[in-house]
Assembly symmetry: C2
Homo-oligomer: 143 residues x 2
DNA sequence: CCCAAGCGGTTGTAAAATGCAAGCAGTCAC
DNA sequence: GTGACTGCTTGCATTTTACAACCGCTTGGG
């Protein structure tokens, strides 16, 4: 609610105060790569986030200007969450966190084949592919 | 202690289960950029981490293979923490998290001039400079 | 018009993580 | 031997998380 004093003004710390927790980046991941836009869609992640945490994280992300919340014309009480440019700029970070995990965390080998292909493509594509995806997100989420 | 089942096998999630919290990446930041190697040095961060949390994070990082802990020849009970290759490979992620914060979090303007110069150099240097820093870290921390 | 299904959340409560301050045994230089 | 320094540990209050149930409103189908 009230803007609280940051622990320090180090840019790394300032970033982590926004998304340095277990759930926030997973929510952004789903918005970026799974085309999810609604509360109940986001609730269906593999990691089984609980609804109160999701509600809290969405509110924080809106508060920090990474998401906007708007109404769905087709359903009066349906909310649509949209990424802002500020959030879209985090895509390379999210991708590289995934790349690191895929390379260095042994459990990543247990990922199913389809997901693995997806991850590999995203990395072989490199920054140019990320930029393309960012443009796609802009087209869908901004304006 | 006992390896617990991950919430999912998504590489992003696997990464976040290692460093997806408020403190872990700050500890790595200090090891990577401030030349800190000892417990009490790491305790002196701007963010005022408390000693029990620091002890816990160091233990986890060792457990996950991002750090090794060894004795200091000059002082029998002095511990030296060293980055592993697995951790050094996280440097680009750490740098880019800082770059994002520096660009998108308004409070980053309050950073002092010296630190700001450091941040700007690190970004203008780009991947080549990061690679150089990674090599320096390898020289100091490995073998 | 009614009702089941879908919508974005809230609420209550227990368990876990965090933050804070103090303390502790071993080591070292003098 | 003593005073400063080492890497932690302990106890306790506060905060955050996790889990499950529930809620009022909206919508489409019959």
């Amino acid at each position: 609610m009230s803007p609280t004093e940051p622990r320090s003004y180090c840019p790394i710390n300032l970033s982590l105060e926004i998304f340095g927790d277990a759930w926030t980046l997973l929510v952004l991941r789903d918005l970026m790569f799974s085309g999810k836009r609604h509360f109940r869609e986001l609730l269906q992640s593999d990691e089984r986030i609980s609804s109160n945490i999701l509600a809290d994280r969405l509110a924080r992300l809106v508060e920090h200007g990474l998401l906007t919340r708007s109404g769905d014309p087709t359903h009066r009480q349906k909310a649509i969450y949209s990424l802002t440019e500020k959030a879209i700029q985090l895509l390379p970070v999210v991708v590289q966190i995934g790349a690191w995990g895929s390379r260095w965390v042994p459990d990543a080998r247990k990922l199913d084949a389809a997901a693995r292909r997806f991850v590999r493509q995203l990395q072989e594509g490199g920054p140019r592919l990320w930029a393309r995806r960012m443009d796609e997100l802009r087209a869908v989420h901004l304006r």
